[in-house]
Symmetry: C2
Subunit: 379 residues, 2 copies
């Protein structure tokens, strides 16, 4: 026998998570998650899943029947949208203004689609004019894919305008709302979004590991018309839906992550109780507080003011400041996590998240004071 | 605005879960899961992931470097094995003796492989002689895939003998250990298993939503020699490993399900503290207790004695008994869940699981007494 390793119980400290996600999870959600497990086909659990669906429909502002949580992280939600909708040889206009737009391209190509990219500088929002030109140049495109809130840069794109362009060109829209859902205005039905995915661990402040998704009637029709089977068995929505929408006759597909869904139920209930518009306003108000403080410290934002995400503040690391050393000290001395730069912004920017339960005044006070101390040497 | 639904907090009852999984989760594991969240790139979390890896290596009895937990349920673990290993046009011998063998076939076909099935009656173990014949008839086969413990029937197959056959024919073995890991003898290195996947919610008694996997050096070499990219971005192990094995330089791939991994860490620690051989012996002892009680009630097992899984007891529903009515009464009056039959066994059999934390004497007492009451009318 290979011997058993001797390992102590893990006792994490209480951190303040102001990075790009996961965000802080409230004690209320953690308590919901740790309730006793019941079976994934138990009538009580099935009833709870119906409630999760209704709450997700509210959060997405949609009446889409096909609204559910994928049993895996946001990147699996992204993959679920592409593998179900895009068939080999179909063309997708993919907007790239950060890491996640490029991940969309990789997904298109891995399921045999043809990706036509519309590229932007990092930190810029997607330009509707450039997208309109690409749609006009590619009349055979079937989809327009873009990121609503780019987690790698902190830029917000105009999802309403982009989806209207998609409709004009008979394209279905595929929207990444991982960081936007619950943090900024998002109206799936009103804006005509056809497929959308998010993550549980950003502005919903739930534990990571679930990906809310929603598909419009047009998207569902496209899935039903497929000539080829979906390449992923696990993410095949025609199979998954027999579990999520079967009512009393729910068919087993895979074992749902019961306790994580307890947490999502509670996190979405908190959002519904606060009210979506109130949550959007709170993120905005907290962002302004942080911005004022950062302005006073002379810290510069990467994204121009009209396109800044309130829930993800990307700022240039001031000259002379040691990126890794400062973030390590924040973590070790203040139990405060802020995010490193990603991709093009690695070593150049920090990402300060104010997401969901994390978007509170005491967190901004801690962050501004700690940054003031750490940056005081050179500022 | 679509209005917010008014939904009360969810308060599940305390059930005794003796179905095919999820199994009962101990209070200790639930408490670990609800500890405060920290970042998925936090050095403390990365250290905990190294411990999870060491604990998984112990549970699998392997020294495989590529041993980790996929951030999704067991069926995604299955898909991870097939999409990473099998390239389009490659032939896989797939043994079918229940639902999950057929799911393997579907996975092979969805990634462009050619599945050659070796079929058995439900409830039978995989027959090494039939497999040897198939391997001889298909010298171009690259893989042998089979289910160690069929969750749909309760039959245990001889993984050691089957993997030896695979080696003789220069095939890599792909093994489903969803229900076997932690419940019956399983030795990945000694038996020469090349790719193996399991689920967190069976004999590990962790919350559902994670899939432990392990790949041998030969499997890793096969992945590295791929001529085509893995069709799934989310499950691409070459990308995932840059997060799990990067040490200080861990690269971001997707946000790990932090709290579920806390739970897995604790569940695996409990297994290591008990000892694998002791856990196997406990499952066997509890099975014998249950079997004696069921024998006394005149309830018949589906699987012949030498191949019975101690952790999943599949029994015929006695004549004259209303399947749904009895299971509903067990749930409503005793808060006891036993499993329905699946596939060919729907309406014909029950599946009584004694998995992990659920394999305790008080649960067997409850189950036997409740069944005696419910079956007394006709027995």
């Amino acid at each position: 026998m290979i011997p058993a390793p001797v390992i102590a119980a893990f006792h994490p400290p209480r951190r303040t998570l102001l990075g790009p996600g996961p965000s802080d999870v409230s004690p209320q959600v953690l308590a919901a998650q740790s309730k006793p497990i019941i079976g994934h086909l138990d009538p009580l659990f099935v009833g709870m899943m119906d409630e999760v669906k209704a709450l997700l429909q509210y959060a997405f502002q949609t009446r889409n029947e096909m609204t559910l949580a994928i049993s895996a992280p946001g990147s699996a939600g992204m993959e679920a949208c592409f593998v179900n909708l895009v068939e080999p040889g179909e063309k997708v206009i993919v907007c790239r203004n950060g890491v996640f737009g490029d991940r969309m391209r990789q997904n298109v190509e891995r399921c045999g689609g043809i990706a036509v990219t519309v590229d932007h500088a990092w930190g810029e929002p997607v330009d509707p004019a450039a997208v309109a030109a690409a749609l006009a140049a590619h009349p055979d495109a079937r989809f327009l894919a873009f990121v609503h809130a780019e987690t790698s840069t902190g830029a917000l794109s105009d999802a309403k305008a982009l989806c209207a362009l998609a409709k004009q060109h008979q394209c279905l829209s595929i929207v990444d709302a991982v960081t936007s859902l619950g943090g900024v205005e998002l109206r799936v039905d009103e804006w005509g979004i056809d497929a959308i995915y998010s993550g549980s661990q950003k502005c919903l402040s739930c534990v990571p590991g679930l990906a809310p998704v929603s598909f419009s009637a047009a998207a569902v029709a496209k899935i039903k018309q497929r000539k080829t089977p979906v390449q992923s068995w696990f993410l095949d929505q025609s199979l998954v839906m027999s579990y999520w929408s079967g009512g009393a006759k729910r068919a087993y597909h895979h074992t749902a992550p019961v306790n994580a869904l307890y947490a999502l139920h509670e996190a979405l209930r908190m959002l519904a109780n606060e009210g979506l518009e109130q949550a959007w306003a709170r993120h905005k108000a907290m962002h302004l507080l942080l911005r004022n403080g950062l302005d006073a410290l002379g810290v510069q934002f990467v994204v121009a003011e009209p396109y800044r995400l309130p829930q993800l503040n990307t700022v240039y690391i001031p000259p002379g400041i040691d990126d890794v050393a400062v973030r390590s000290r924040l973590l070790q001395q203040y139990n405060l996590e802020i995010g490193a730069g990603l991709g093009d912004f690695a070593g150049k920017a920090w990402r300060i998240g104010l997401m969901g339960y994390g978007a509170r005044q005491e967190n901004i006070a801690l962050c501004l004071h700690a940054l003031q101390q750490e940056l005081s040497v050179v500022i």
